[in-house]
Every structure is written in C-alpha cells, then in structure tokens.
C-alpha cells in the first residue's frame, strides 16, 4: 500500500501534501508517494521537521491508492480532505 503525508498548512489552514523535494503542495497529484518502509520513515521525519519549523500542523501518514493515474486516499475522511467538501455553497466547490 502506498502512503502520502497530508497536513494543514499553518498560516492559512489549507490541506497540503508532502512533495518529493520536501516542500508542501496543495494538490495530491503533485505529492510524494511513499512506497516502502524507508520512504515512510523519511516522510515522517520530514513532516516532523516541518511541524517543528511551524510550517504545517498535524501531519499524518495516510494510505493512498493510484488507479489510472488518479490518486485517492483510502479513507473517506482523507478523500474529502484531498478533494474538498462534497456539497456546495458559495465558492467552496
């Protein structure tokens, strides 16, 4: 199972994903897919550093599947975080 790190950015609260270069991106497509144990360790290490450096809050390693190039978190909760609310008011969709 592949994993990604998801978090909320501190200054604006938006959902971000850890990218391969250690930065944080707002699209799951551009985030880094951790495929094995060493990857996951590295990812967690980087996210702890980012939390400590006040870049992100609450980083979490989540399970992600990739089908036909489309990445989807396995849990409903994380899928909603990645894609946004499933209901619309104003400009939230």
């Amino acid at each position: 199972m592949s994993h990604m790190v998801i978090a909320n950015r501190l200054h604006d609260g938006l959902v971000v994903f850890l990218a391969a270069d250690g930065s944080w991106v707002d699209s799951i497509a551009r985030g880094w897919l951790a495929e094995d144990e060493p990857d996951r360790t590295r990812a967690l290490q980087r996210s702890m550093e980012a939390q400590y450096a006040n870049q992100v809050i609450g980083p979490d390693l989540i399970e992600v599947t990739e089908q036909h190039g489309v990445r989807m978190p396995v849990s409903i909760r994380e899928a909603i975080r990645a894609a946004g609310p499933t209901v619309q008011t104003g400009r939230n969709a």
Partner: protein, 558 residues
C-alpha cells in the same frame, strides 16, 4: 438590541490586540500549537478538515441588518462567499486563514460583534428563545438576563479554564424554544406560586456521547440573585469537575456522580457566602440594559386575519407558508415570520453572501432592521406588519427562503459533518439534502405536520440528534458511512431523549427509512396527533417493523 458603549468597545479592541499578538507569536514559533490551540479556541478559531473555521457569536440569536451585511462582506472578502448558521444561534465561516483572523475580528468589532469564547473550555454563547420579547406566550423578555450573563461570563478570570465547555440557554416562556433541558445550565423565567417572577435553574443537561436531561437545582430564585447563583455553580464545577478524561468532564457527569441533592448542597453552601455580594444585580444596571430591549414604537394597526384569509384561499402556496412559517405576534397587526434556510436541496444553515445582503435589505424594509437566528438554523423576522406579509413572501420566494416547512419534516437540523468537521464519522449534509428532496411537496409537508429531524455526523451531537423527533447519527462502520436512527426525542418543556430504532443503515437507505417511519405514523395517528404524540402512544415497535421488517422475517439487515 444591546448596543456597545465605549467600555464594551474597548474590551473588544483590547481582546483583538491580544489575539493579534498571539497569532504573530504562533507564526513566529514562539508559541507551540499545543500552547496556541486553547488560546485560538477561546477566540472561536478551529482547525478543521480543509481550513480554519471561525465561529462568530450572535448573542442570544439577536442580529441587526447592519451586522448581517458585515458578515456578508467578510464571507466575500475572507471566505468563499457563504456562512453557516449553527445550532447555537451563531454563524461560522469555514475557509478562514489564520493570518487574516485578527483583521476579521477587528472588522467584526466595528459592528459590535465578536468571537470571544465561542469555543474553548469556558462559557460559550448564551442562547435563548429566538422569539424573546415578541412571543405571545412569554412571561417576560429574558434578554436583559442573557446580556447580564454574557457580560458576567466574558473574560471571567476565574472561569476561563474550566474542565470543559459550558453552555447556557434561557427562556422567558413556558413553551421552551431554547432547549433549556439539554444545556449545562438552563434558566426558565416563570412565576412562582405567589406570582413573583424568578428563574428555575436547571443543571447538568447535555447531549454528546452521554445525553442527559438536566435536573432542577433550584425551583425558583429571585432574578437579582441569578448571577451569584450561577457563580456558585461554576465554582463548584471548576473545582470538582473531572479533568482526567475529556469525555467525562462536562458538568452533567459531575451532577450524575454526586447526585443532584449532594450537588445542590455544595452549590447552596457556596452561594450562601456570595449571595449578597457584588454579584447581586443592581436595579440601575438592570434598567440600563433593559432599556435596549424595550419594544419598538408599534403602529396602531388593525388585525388583518380576515383579509389574509381571502388571500390564502386563492393562493395555496401563500396559504401553506402562512400556516407553517408565520406565527402570531403580541401586537395586533403584526406577525412573526420565519425564513427557512431549508428549501429542498439546500445545505441546512448555509447562506451565501448575496442572500445575506438580500435578507439585510428585507429586514430593514419589513422588520425594523433586526432579525433572529434560531438553533434550528433558520432566521426570524419578529416585527413584520401583517399588511406586508404577502409582499415579503414574494421576496423571500425570490431568495429561496420561503419553503413552507418550519418545524416540518424537511426543516432538518444538520451539523456540518464529515464534509467540513475533523471530528465527524459521516457526512450529514447529503443525507439532509436527500431527505429534503424526498419531502419537497407542500402537500406532503402539510400532511405530515410537525416533525423534527436532527442529523449529527458523530457522537458529539452538534446536530442535537438526541432531541430530534427523528434523530440520525452518522457512524463509521468498516470505513463506510452508516446511520443510526433514534425516535421520540424532544427539546421542549417535555424534553425527552430519542430511543434507538435499530442497526445502522447505509446512506442510500436513509431517505426510504424516513418515508417508512412517516408512513407508519400517518397510518397510526389519531385525531391531531403530531408524530411525537403518536410515537409516545404506540411505542417503537410499529416503526421498527416498518423499517426493518417483522421480527421473524428472514430479511437481511445491515
């Protein structure tokens, strides 16, 4: 409405300056998230699934058109063009940036609004009967007491780090539209045997994981003593409430553990020391604040019920709306109009910035520039002239706020749920929308009559599902969204908690289940029975069978 004087305004400014510094210290890393979190919560700022959420206080549900326009402005400039009215009469913005928050608070301060203690382990927004000051059945307008309590509780140095959140509700009417029985402290203004006005004090009610109907700690107390008595309760709670387990930290747990008699002994003993001190409400401060709530100068208008009756006869849509959304006013020639935020398919409680501006204009034109927010996530215009009702109805229809469903099956209360909230197990909004669409037809709504549905996305029960006639609780079952139904809840003066109907249902089956329950009710009802009356008479079995099939059936259930 209460108006800030220079002192109220100064306090807000100082609070905003403090929070601005706190935000900067957080962004600079001087404060850790752990240290900052309680501080930002005490200013109403949550971190949710997608962004920060800011909860703005609407004190006891009273809002002016000017304030509503500012909220629309904030929605436009700092959020995604909408806000959400909550089950505690507040409004929330879901897409706030931390770095903008201090500026937002400053702008709210300009219209006498604030977010102080709208979250956190402290006293939250004081909620009240949304018809306070206007309902014909009211003993006395309780809002002066709400404002006194609000000021008492704001930045109270002794009670800013309570074991857990603390919620008040106040009613001045025997018909409880404020749900006082399910609050940490509920206050019910009423006349004692001698005809003197005073408060019944109810303590330890609440919902969440362990719902409890509150217990009367004091049948009647003179109004001048209510603040000191509240202080005694808060002090006992602050000292003895549990701090080892956040799920066992509300006052309801303490009251249950001690028993109401022992709890009362502790409170009364504490109160003896403080009852005649500085907290005794002076007539002067009472009069000063009460002046803000004196009724407007109503015009002398004739009762127009007959004229309206003829209009209603020729227009069934207008008639339906009059029946469900318009209530009698104390003063002849006037009416109380509810704006339904629950048109089929709408997100319950949400309102776009454009609509807010529209409502503000209507409030100015038809309701003396003021409106109320209800804990059912609707709005109310409390001073509408009967002669304006038809025109107002037309304008509300344009804004999609005239669904004839107040208190009816599609007037669904729903928490934001898993679409927004990090605590949730399931999405509540799509379920509400589905049910709303199933029961869209006006005739159906009329046929079903009074029936409240409340949806919570998790056990924290922000949708108040325990006190819905039908309660729906979202649960996570093997990673999928399932919904447990309860029946027979009520939040009025005969409050009751709902009974569990059976195993959870997948989302797709919920609207049908509601239909089956409604059909079973219509089948069984006698005379004018509401759903709740029929349920209380016939019990849960007929409804269980309707939804899950007969007991000895081989039908698979989830």
């Amino acid at each position: 409405m209460y108006r800030y004087d220079e002192f109220d305004q100064q306090l807000i400014s100082e609070r905003v300056a403090q929070f601005r510094r706190q935000v900067q210290r957080r962004l600079d890393g001087e404060l850790t998230e752990d240290q900052f979190k309680p501080l930002r919560l005490m200013n109403g700022l949550y971190l949710q699934l997608h962004a920060y959420m800011l909860r703005v206080n609407v004190p006891y549900g009273c809002l002016s058109a000017k304030q509503l326009r500012k909220l629309a402005d904030i929605a436009r400039r700092y959020d995604k063009d909408f806000g959400h009215f909550t089950t505690r009469q507040n409004i929330q913005f879901n897409w706030i940036k931390l770095e903008d928050t201090a500026d937002i608070l400053a702008e709210l301060g300009e219209v006498e609004m604030n977010t102080i203690q709208s979250s956190g382990n402290c006293v939250r927004n004081i909620t009240a009967d949304p018809l306070a000051g206007r309902a014909a059945d009211e003993i006395q307008d309780p809002r002066v007491w709400c404002e006194l309590l609000r000021q008492y509780s704001i930045l109270n140095p002794e009670f800013s780090y309570l074991p857990r959140k603390f919620k008040f509700a106040v009613t001045g009417s025997p018909n409880d539209r404020a749900a006082v029985a399910v609050h940490d402290i509920g206050l019910r203004l009423h006349l004692n045997a001698r005809g003197d006005r005073g408060f019944e004090v109810i303590v330890g009610g609440g919902q969440g994981r362990t719902p409890v109907i509150g217990k009367t700690i004091r049948e009647w107390i003179e109004p001048e003593h209510v603040i000191s008595y509240v202080e005694a309760i808060l002090r006992v709670y602050n000292i003895y409430g549990r701090r080892d387990n956040i799920y066992k930290a509300r006052i309801k747990i303490l009251v249950n553990a001690l028993g109401i008699e022992r709890f009362r002994e502790l409170v009364d003993a504490e109160w003896e020391n403080i009852r005649d001190g500085q907290l005794k409400v002076s007539n002067e401060e009472l009069a000063r604040i009460d002046a803000y709530f004196k009724p407007p100068a109503y015009e002398s208008l004739p009762d127009l019920d007959d004229e309206l009756a003829s209009l209603r006869r020729v227009d069934p849509d207008f008639d339906a709306w009059m029946t469900s959304n318009v209530a009698a006013h104390k003063v002849p020639g006037y009416a109380i109009v509810s704006l339904s935020l629950k048109a089929p398919g709408r997100v319950p409680g949400d309102m776009t910035a454009t609509t807010m501006d529209g409502v503000a204009d209507l409030a100015d034109a038809y309701s003396l520039g003021e409106l109320r927010v209800t804990h059912r996530q609707n709005l109310v215009f409390v001073d509408v002239k009967q002669e304006d009702l038809h025109t107002l109805w037309e304008q509300l229809t344009e804004l999609d706020l005239a669904a004839a469903n107040i208190g009816r099956v599609s007037d669904i209360i729903a928490c934001p749920g898993l679409d927004y909230c990090s605590l949730a197990n399931a999405r509540s909004i799509p379920v509400a929308q589905d049910i709303g669409r199933h029961f869209a037809a006006a005739e159906k709504l009329q046929e079903v009559g009074e029936l409240t549905i409340n949806i919570s996305g998790c056990m924290n029960a922000c949708g108040h599902h325990h006190v819905g006639n039908i309660g729906i609780l979202g649960v996570d079952k093997r990673g999928k969204e399932f919904f447990q139904l309860t029946l027979g809840g009520s939040s009025d003066q005969n409050a009751s908690l709902g009974d569990r109907l059976g195993p959870g249902l997948p989302q797709a089956e919920v609207p049908q289940a509601i239909e089956k329950i409604v059909d079973a009710y219509i089948n069984k009802r006698q005379d004018d029975e509401r759903f709740l009356d029929t349920y209380r008479r016939v019990g849960i079995e007929p409804f269980k069978q309707a939804v899950y099939g007969p007991v000895n059936s081989k039908k698979q259930v989830a």
